[in-house]
């Protein structure tokens, strides 16, 4: 497994290097000028030019790119045009919120996916399966923002039992922080859990047709033992890969859910950065998202190998 990880390093480096070029060019290809943002809406052309020069935005693109990459190797991600603070400081300030939400949502997602997936992958009566399918389909069909708005109206405005706006970091007040996480995490997790559950369900139903399951049945194994000891482990591969990708997305920032629950996470930071053409901030967030995606994929491969003995990473 160690050899496998080392073998992946070159591709990891290449992906990040290419991502850095894309991250650098992307915000510059979009219309809009950060100097205009910095100068304010009533600024004259002369004021904008003066600010553009002071920020080094009139340097050749290659020079700007090399300066940025050189800074990264020295631990300097640059300074935000909008906030005049180090980009690393801004990201660190938003990271806890996003990570807490991602982890909490991931826990809900895993639990729900397993429950629904295993239930769906079990032999059920027709009525039970219909009910399960309806629930699963409804969860898949409802976008996260809609779930979020329904939760806000019901639990935040009508019943007023849970906070629907803002955040308290768990490091500051764990109990209070959990209250602020419940609704956005559920909104994020429901749809994702249903998708993974459907994958798991399909995989389990397929696995049940395998000969080793028939053998276990013939040996008198109980249905529960067959499900959890034989069918489930052999059916998890696809779900784990999907789970890894979903968690990677969550860690990158849940833009819509953060917005409607007024949480200040990486997603909202990215939105602000894009809208104010805050180049260094956008670049760092894009690179970060790419790295998280790559690491998530790698992790899911390792977990798959650990769970399923048929998978051999070093082979």
């Amino acid at each position: 497994m160690i050899r496998y990880i080392f073998r992946r390093i070159p591709s990891f480096v290449i992906v990040v290097a290419l991502a850095s070029i894309v991250a650098f060019l992307l915000p510059r290809l979009a219309p809009g000028d950060p100097a205009v943002q910095m100068a304010g809406p009533d600024a004259t052309t002369e004021q904008v030019d003066a600010i553009r020069h002071a920020a080094g935005l009139d340097l050749p693109l290659v020079t700007q790119y090399l300066n940025w990459v050189g800074g990264i190797f020295h631990g300097d991600l640059g300074t935000s045009f909008s906030y005049h603070r180090p980009v690393s400081e801004l990201i660190a300030a938003s990271m806890e919120s996003s990570f807490e939400l991602a982890i909490f949502a991931a826990i809900i997602m895993v639990v729900l996916a397993l429950v629904l997936g295993v239930l769906g992958g079990t032999q059920l009566r027709k009525t039970s399966r219909t009910v399960l399918d309806v629930i699963n389909t409804a969860m898949i069909a409802m976008p996260a923002f809609l779930v979020g708005l329904i939760l806000i109206v019901v639990f935040g405005i009508v019943l007023r039992v849970l906070p629907i706006s803002g955040q308290v970091n768990l490091s500051e007040n764990f109990a209070e922080g959990i209250k602020y996480l419940i609704l956005p995490a559920i909104a994020l997790a429901l749809g994702q859990a249903a998708v993974i559950a459907r994958l798991l369900q399909t995989s389990m139903l397929t696995t049940r047709g395998e000969e080793f399951v028939d053998l276990a049945t013939a040996k008198g194994a109980s249905p529960a033992r067959i499900t959890f000891r034989h069918v489930l482990p052999a059916s998890l591969n696809t779900a784990i890969v999907a789970l890894g990708l979903r968690i990677g997305e969550l860690l990158g920032g849940a833009i819509v859910i953060e917005a409607i629950f007024s949480r200040s996470g990486l997603g909202q930071l990215a939105v602000q950065a894009v809208n104010s053409r805050d180049y260094f901030l956008v670049q760092a967030l894009v690179i970060g998202a790419v790295m998280i995606a790559v690491l998530s994929q790698l992790t899911s491969e390792l977990v798959t190998a650990a769970v399923d003995p048929r998978v051999r990473l070093d082979g």
């Binding site: 979009a30 219309p31 809009g32 000028d33 205009v36 943002q37 910095m38 100068a39 304010g40 809406p41 009533d42 600024a43 004259t44 052309t45 002369e46 004021q47 904008v48 003066a50 600010i51 002071a54 935000s80 909008s82 906030y83 005049h84 603070r85 801004l90 300030a93 938003s94 708005l149 806000i152 935040g156 405005i157 007023r160 906070p163 629907i164 706006s165 803002g166 917005a259 409607i260 629950f261 007024s262 200040s264 909202q268 930071l269 939105v271 602000q272 894009v274 809208n275 104010s276 053409r277």
Partner: protein, 512 residues
């Protein structure tokens, strides 16, 4: 002056944006106040303010909508314009304009301190005024400071400002320009040191998230009631509404008109009107077909302003053709009907001018209300024989092109109402020299200069004359005026809004 206004779509993005800047002018609704009931003021408590835009402390010398929620709690100015546009002393004690109008002597209060405890002096005022000339601070009124030939500190509490020419709009400058602590000015942009003389002190700021102000222990004036003010940034319009309805926020700034309407009839909330925005339609007068006056006027006859008011603003706006606030001396109500909707007349004028079928692009700043209004404008113009195409530009792109006067044949910007007309004509991009209409006839320049120098009783006729000329030339005319709104809870008492739409919590308290 706010020249950009964050609306629903902007926030959706961006965010947006950022936002925008907005300085407002003196309107009858200026100095709006929340409920002032009879209950005795209550000391203590934390007020949570919701704002669609994050603070921009580096722009405290500019007019900036992002700072409406907190700036007047931390920073003060020499004077403040009252509801009638009359300057009232704040940090200044008195002033005297020279008989020839070429200088002003200002006496400062001798008891003012910054939140650090250091006494404010005339040198601090001078430094703040000079900082407005630095582009990094983004002051829209730098053009006024450029008219200062000298700022002479006579004593720690006295200074004299000499002008190159009479400056009747000097009090607009006083109203806008916050007095900052020059020893900590380098900490403004990143929010590490934000030191002012106001009733509350800047305690902490998490960019994009929240800002905390606490009672200024060194405040020179009456002790404020609240212990703390927390300003939370909520860029999503729906989230801002929900934050108010769930009780998290007690004072919301920057809510879209359509959302405000939902609070207006609800007794659990108070809606306070503040100075609003103008939605103009401009054309490039140097290119066909809008180089012809008849076509420009026909365009104005073709626009159904009342439909825009009704369909875009839900009735919370009014048709207008003037760049000044209703109630401004010289504001001519009759001008608002100068181009009453008359598509038949417009169609004939366009045909007579040989412009039927002319194709052109309408560049629109990418905010929700503007985009919706542009659809109506496009529809109206097609109905009279023109062939426009709407092109929505991101706010930053639009502003950049506006600064360079490159907005194309037709455009729809967004302007805040600002100060007095004398300031506006040199400030509003649609009117100032180098405007995107490229309109600079000798008569226009002359009328603008007369207004810029008008004082006292001469202001009203000069304003009316210029307004009449602008309306007649139709190179750029507002379609509607939409007031701004603040949503509060009735328990919040004593909160005020300045003439420039900044929140004033110096006397605010949370009652029962």
């Amino acid at each position: 002056m706010k020249l950009l206004h964050s609306k629903r779509s902007a926030a959706a993005v961006a965010a947006v944006v950022v936002a925008g800047l907005m300085l407002a002018g003196c309107t009858p609704s200026g100095h709006a106040s929340s409920a002032s009931g009879s209950s005795a003021p209550v000391r203590g408590g934390t007020l949570t303010v919701g704002s669609g835009n994050d603070a921009v402390p580096g722009f405290v010398l500019a007019g900036n909508q992002s700072n409406w929620s907190w700036e007047r709690s931390v920073f003060q100015t020499l004077a403040s314009l009252d509801a009638k546009g009359v300057p009232r002393p704040v940090l200044a004690k008195s002033w005297k304009v020279a008989a020839n109008g070429l200088s002003i002597d200002v006496k400062l209060r001798d008891d003012v301190t910054f939140s650090t405890g250091r006494k404010m002096t005339a040198d601090d005022v001078k430094a703040s005024f000079l900082d407005t000339l630095n582009p990094a601070f983004g002051s829209q009124l730098a053009f006024i400071a450029k008219q200062f030939t000298a700022i002479t500190v006579q004593s720690p509490t006295e200074l004299t400002i000499d002008f190159a020419a009479p400056l009747p709009n000097i009090f607009d400058f006083f109203e806008l320009t916050s007095i900052i602590d020059p020893t900590t000015v380098s900490g403004l942009a990143n929010g590490s040191k934000v030191i002012g003389t106001g009733p509350y002190a800047w305690q902490s700021w998490t960019p994009g998230s929240s800002l905390t102000l606490v009672r200024n222990a060194n405040y020179w004036g009456p002790k404020p009631y609240l212990d703390k003010i927390t300003v939370v940034t909520i860029s999503d319009p729906t989230a801002l509404v929900n934050a108010v309805r769930s009780g998290r926020v007690q004072y919301a700034i920057g809510m879209a008109g359509i959302d405000v309407a939902g609070f207006q009839k609800d007794p659990q909330y108070s809606v306070v009107q503040t100075t609003g925005s103008l939605y103009p339609l401009g054309v490039d007068t140097t290119a066909a077909p809008f180089d012809k006056l008849a076509v420009r006027q026909a365009v104005q006859y073709a626009i159904d302003r009342k439909r825009i008011v009704s369909q875009v603003f839900g009735g919370l706006a009014q048709p207008t053709t003037q760049f000044w606030s209703p109630g401004t001396p010289g504001y001519d109500t009759a001008l608002n009907d100068a181009y009453a909707y008359n598509p038949a007349k417009a169609k004939k004028m366009i045909a007579d001018a040989g412009a039927t079928g002319a194709s052109f692009t309408i560049n629109v700043i990418g905010f929700g209300s503007n985009i919706s209004a542009a659809q109506i404008v496009q529809n109206n113009l097609k109905a009279v024989g023109l062939n426009p195409t709407v092109n929505v530009l991101p706010a930053l792109t639009f502003i950049g092109q506006q600064a360079g006067a490159k907005l194309g044949p037709m455009f729809m910007p967004l302007h805040g109402l600002g100060f007095g007309p004398a300031t506006l004509v040199n400030l509003v991009p649609s009117l100032r020299p180098g405007n995107p209409s490229h309109f600079a006839t000798p008569e226009y320049v002359s009328l603008r200069d007369v207004l810029a120098k008008a004082q006292g009783s001469a202001v009203a006729p000069a304003t009316k004359a210029l307004g009449t000329y602008i309306t007649q030339q139709a190179f750029n005319l507002p379609l509607v005026y939409a007031p701004g709104y603040v949503v509060t809870i009735p328990a919040l008492r004593g909160a005020k809004t300045t003439a420039l739409s900044y929140a004033d919590f110096s006397s605010a308290y949370l009652g029962k």
